[in-house]
């Protein structure tokens, strides 16, 4: 193999592929990235058996070939090279990669490419097509709500559904749920409903980056895998097997009190409240007080026995009777941080019933959060 690439392209492709390289590999080959030629391009792949990423960069291919080399070594090396042309040469007999850039000559010992797990390629014809920025915002508004501990593995995943013209993605741990929907430009032929590891989704959001193109999603028939193609990159992920809870049933059907607040106001007071709430299991108390003519106030209080107390008040619109309710302040900060509207709506019933948060004037984002109670 003999290939020439630009240092910055190589560095970018390597960084993308390295997202799938495990930090503590169980098999030596998994610590490596696969370098392989493709017509006029260089493929760089990383794989941890759950997630596989193949990035492509433009290259001048003189001789075809493939090799795997330790990801960290190559990435560190390339990051220190000057922004010039980088020549990659492989000695097929000794499995050695020579990296030449200006005056620098480096040889890296590798392992044969045949030992690297193969990565299926996304089918751009039959797959689902969706605008990359839309899908990225869906991921970002949902993925943080996935469970972090593996008591219920299915909750460590994100439920992704495509049905006719609709896409919806949902994540939940035992205490809150986040759901985002979007319309598809091109309807899907066959409905898809899969649970994808939250980690995959988070990586995918980063790989989409600032891409404004379309991306393609397909599920290999009979295989427990999902494939994404975006930004000249293939992402293949294992799916989580299991029944995701009935999310629609978790959304409260009606509410007594509807409070409309400025997103930044609420986020600001939550951050302040958190300083003291931390010591009290993140408990933040909210007191919703209706005023005259639809106006109202939200009083917020957090208290740490040792440190002190924080109280805040923000103005908003309150529709319905007053109420006192406690939430885990982290759960509110998480969702407020991904709200992209100026105002949000908080819907509540009783201090023991779930609260519902959504962007003002939009129906495509729903966040359900369970209250806390002191006794």
């Amino acid at each position: 193999m003999r290939v020439s690439v630009l240092q910055e392209n190589l560095a970018k492709g390597l960084a993308t592929a390295a997202r799938a390289v495990p930090s503590r590999p169980t098999m030596p080959i998994l610590a490596n990235v696969l370098l392989a030629t493709e017509d006029g391009r260089l493929q760089i792949s990383g794989n941890n058996l759950e997630l596989g990423i193949t990035a492509r960069v433009g290259a001048k291919v003189d001789d075809d070939g493939a090799i795997t080399v330790p990801a960290r070594t190559l990435l560190e090396l390339v990051n220190t090279l000057p922004p010039e042309r980088v020549d990659l040469e492989v000695d097929e007999r000794t499995h050695t990669l020579t990296v030449i850039c200006k005056g620098t000559v480096t040889t890296i010992k590798g392992i044969s490419a045949e030992e690297f797990p193969s990565v299926p390629v996304a089918d751009t014809d039959t797959g689902v097509e969706i605008a990359a920025p839309t899908f990225q915002s869906m991921i970002d508004q949902v993925v943080f709500a996935a469970a972090r501990d593996d008591n219920r593995p299915v909750l460590m995943g994100v439920l992704v559904r495509f049905n006719a013209e609709h896409a919806s993605i949902v994540a939940a741990d035992g205490y809150r749920m986040s759901m985002r929907t979007a319309d598809l430009e091109r309807p899907v032929a066959k409905p898809i409903s899969v649970v994808i590891p939250a980690r995959t989704m988070a990586e995918l959001s980063k790989i989409i980056g600032s891409s404004t193109e379309s991306m393609y999603i397909s599920v290999a028939p009979g295989r427990n895998q999902i494939m994404f193609f975006v930004n000249q990159t293939d992402v293949v992920s294992q799916l989580i097997d299991g029944k995701f809870p009935d999310v629609e049933a978790l959304i409260p059907k009606a509410s007594n009190t509807r409070t409309t607040l400025r997103t930044t106001d609420l986020l600001g007071v939550c951050r302040r409240a958190e300083i003291f709430a931390r010591e009290a299991n993140n408990t933040m108390r909210l007191k919703i007080e209706p005023g005259s003519g639809g106006a109202g106030t939200l009083l917020i209080r957090s208290e740490a026995q040792e440190q002190g107390t924080n109280e805040d008040r923000i103005e908003g619109l309150v529709n319905g009777p007053g109420l006192e309710i406690s939430f885990n302040v982290r759960y509110l900060i998480d969702v407020l941080g991904v709200m992209d509207t100026e105002q949000i709506v908080l819907e509540t019933n009783t201090p023991a019933n779930p609260g519902l948060i959504k962007p003002e004037g939009r129906q495509d984002f729903t966040y359900v959060v369970m209250p806390m109670s002191t006794r």
Binding site: N151, G174, L250, M370, R375
Partner: protein, 624 residues
């Protein structure tokens, strides 16, 4: 092969296998008989690890001549007549199997006389059949000689361990009975050599000196019975001796338990003893303990195991709690201050000088904080080494604030790196748990040197601060109001049948910490809310962990909270080794340590301080 009824002899030999497993079990059965006969003196002679000869001589009541023969019949016993008697067993034996079983697999001679009879009686049996029966002269009591054990069951003989192993088993058995019956005089001679003897004066401590050795006994603390915590619980008396935290072993086998004078094995109670040392001993170390448990015979079922090595309690939780509380109380209140000479210990702790003397065998083998010098030792590997800049190893440097104010009046507040020990407890909350100490200075930026009554103390600053923070955080946590986090979809959890029963029993306690459990049929429960501190763990596990806390007599959630606190202290809170402290900081740290409930170990059970006594220094300097 046709089915036949086994001959009596073969059946007896098979049955014997359950009771007579090895020479030590013969010794055990015969000692129990002697004790049940009210013996005050029991002499045991053993030859060839018990294979050649076992002779037990007692001064008990003896066996009447007309009963002597019946004694060797299976299921013949004087200790029990109706099944109801079984519920109220005061004797050690009752199954009527021992003599018959032993006789079936050996050559037995019994010599016995009861008080008031003119002559005694001698019986000789071989393989269970009577060879001789003759009146002879004998002292009151019984002498049983068992020879050629297992001569007719070669398979069993083959499985016997080395002679030394069998000897050791016999030693253990005798020592156990001596502990359980301190008022009986025991002597044991192995192959003609006296190996163990007790005075029979009724003092358990004297027996333990013989059984464990004086060296170990010096570091044992007396456990005294406590009244039950609730009036509805059965009366359970727990007493005995247990080791100070720094005397420990790497197996649980040094924890010996007795129930109503019977040595038993019980993993849960062994755990109760070890649990009493929580945070006082490294987690993989175990105390040496001899614990006696006395309760109503109706509260315990001893008829669950042929050799009665296991028993069943009517309320195991109550027994567990009683053992744990008594031992814990003893360890906390009676453990002497480390390294103080005798007569100087406060609160009348009566044990002899104990301490972390540097050469003491009781020192934990996992040595305390390693000396830094080890890291500078010769490098054996051939890899290239990073050469040190030639600086003195241990010069920690010194800030002006480190010098005691009386030497140089400076402002210690200006010292950089000042650590804020601002959580100081009000002094009246607790009395001192350590002798007064004067801080001398800091060593290697790791240890605080302090002078106590006629001794030098080396205090590990990190471990000491960990202990201080641990006790403060635990106290703060206990004062907090519990908060419940409601769950999104009412997760159902499947509990074990035993746990499900406990849910009912502890319904109120569970609710008070924030659980909302709804029975969902059988042992299924729907969790509507969990305590906010437990949101990170699986709700099912959280319920089980709370229940086990309650069972162990801890506050609900204590174990989880504690684990979190320990983690927090380690990560951030405590002052690190290698951090230079000002004089003020050191004084403050020592002052807080003195107010700790248990200042001598860090929450992981490692020691916070070592002590070098003035007499030891004198010895080292050749002044004695």
């Amino acid at each position: 092969m046709p089915i036949r009824v086994l001959s009596e002899i073969v059946a007896a030999q098979i049955a014997a296998g359950e009771v007579v497993e090895r020479p030590a079990s013969v010794v055990k059965e015969l000692i129990e008989n002697a004790l049940d006969a009210g013996a005050r003196t029991i002499r045991v002679e053993v030859e060839g690890g018990g294979r050649r000869l076992i002779r037990i001589t007692d001064d008990g009541s003896g066996i009447a001549p007309d009963e002597a023969e019946v004694a060797f019949v299976r299921h013949a016993t004087s200790k029990l007549t109706t099944i109801d008697d079984l519920d109220n067993i005061h004797t050690l034996g009752f199954r009527g199997e021992a003599l018959a079983s032993i006789a079936a697999v050996s050559r037995v001679t019994m010599l016995t006389r009861v008080e008031g009879q003119q002559a005694g009686m001698r019986l000789r049996l071989e393989g269970g059949s009577l060879l001789e029966r003759a009146p002879v002269g004998a002292a009151v009591g019984t002498v049983i000689t068992v020879e050629d054990l297992f001569y007719n069951t070669p398979a069993r003989l083959k499985f016997l361990k080395a002679e030394s192993t069998e000897r050791r088993h016999i030693d253990t058995i005798i020592a156990r009975y001596a502990m359980a019956y301190p008022n009986v005089r025991f002597t044991l001679s192995q192959d003609g050599r006296m190996t163990f003897t007790t005075s029979g004066n009724g003092d358990l401590a004297d027996v333990l000196v013989e059984a464990l050795g004086l060296e170990i006994m010096r570091d044992m603390i007396e456990v005294v019975p406590l009244p039950p915590p609730r009036p509805d619980l059965p009366e359970i008396a727990v007493w005995g001796y247990t080791s100070t935290p720094h005397l420990n072993r790497n197996t649980r086998s040094h924890i010996t338990l007795f129930v109503n004078g019977r040595a038993i094995q019980d993993t849960s109670l062994t755990y109760a003893v070890a649990q009493a040392y929580h945070t006082l001993m490294p987690s993989d170390r175990y105390p040496i303990a001899v614990v006696m448990i006395q309760l109503e015979p109706s509260e315990v079922d001893v008829n669950v195991h042929p050799t009665k090595a296991e028993v069943r309690f009517r309320s195991p939780e109550a027994v567990f709690g009683a053992v744990q509380r008594s031992v814990r109380r003893a360890v906390i209140t009676r453990a002497p201050v480390p390294g103080l000479g005798s007569g100087r210990t406060p609160e009348g702790a009566e044990t002899a000088p104990i301490g972390m003397e540097l050469d003491q065998p009781g020192m934990p083998t996992s040595s305390p904080a390693p000396w830094r010098t080890a890291a500078y030792g010769p490098n054996q590997t051939v890899q290239p080494t990073q050469l040190d800049l030639d600086l003195p190893d241990h010069d920690a440097g010194r800030y002006t604030g480190q010098i005691p104010p009386q030497e140089r009046p400076s402002t210690p507040e200006s010292a950089p790196d000042q650590v804020d020990f601002s959580y100081e407890l009000p002094p009246e909350t607790r009395r001192r748990s350590l002798p007064p100490m004067r801080v001398i200075g800091q060593l290697a930026a790791m240890y605080i040197l302090a002078e106590g009554p006629a001794a030098l103390y080396l205090v590990d600053q990190h471990a000491a601060h960990e202990r201080i923070l641990y006790e403060q955080f635990m106290a703060a946590q206990a004062a907090k109001r519990p908060i419940a986090q409601h769950t999104l979809e009412g997760i159902t959890v499947q509990l074990s049948a035993a746990a499900a029963r406990l849910v009912d029993e502890y319904a109120e306690a569970l609710q008070s910490v924030g659980f909302e459990l709804e029975p969902f049929g059988g042992s299924l429960f729907r969790v509507q809310a969990v305590p906010a501190v437990l949101t990170e763990s699986d709700p099912g596990e959280a319920v089980v962990s709370i229940l086990s806390d309650l069972e162990r007599g801890l506050r609900p959630g204590e174990s989880t909270i504690e684990a979190q606190i320990v983690l927090r202290i380690c990560k951030a809170g405590a002052v690190k080794a290698g951090q230079t402290l000002s004089y003020q900081e050191m004084v403050n740290l020592m002052k807080q340590l003195e107010r700790c409930e248990f200042p001598r170990t860090c929450p992981h059970g490692r020691p916070t301080m070592i002590h070098i006594g003035a007499d030891q220094l004198a010895k080292e300097f050749g002044r004695t």
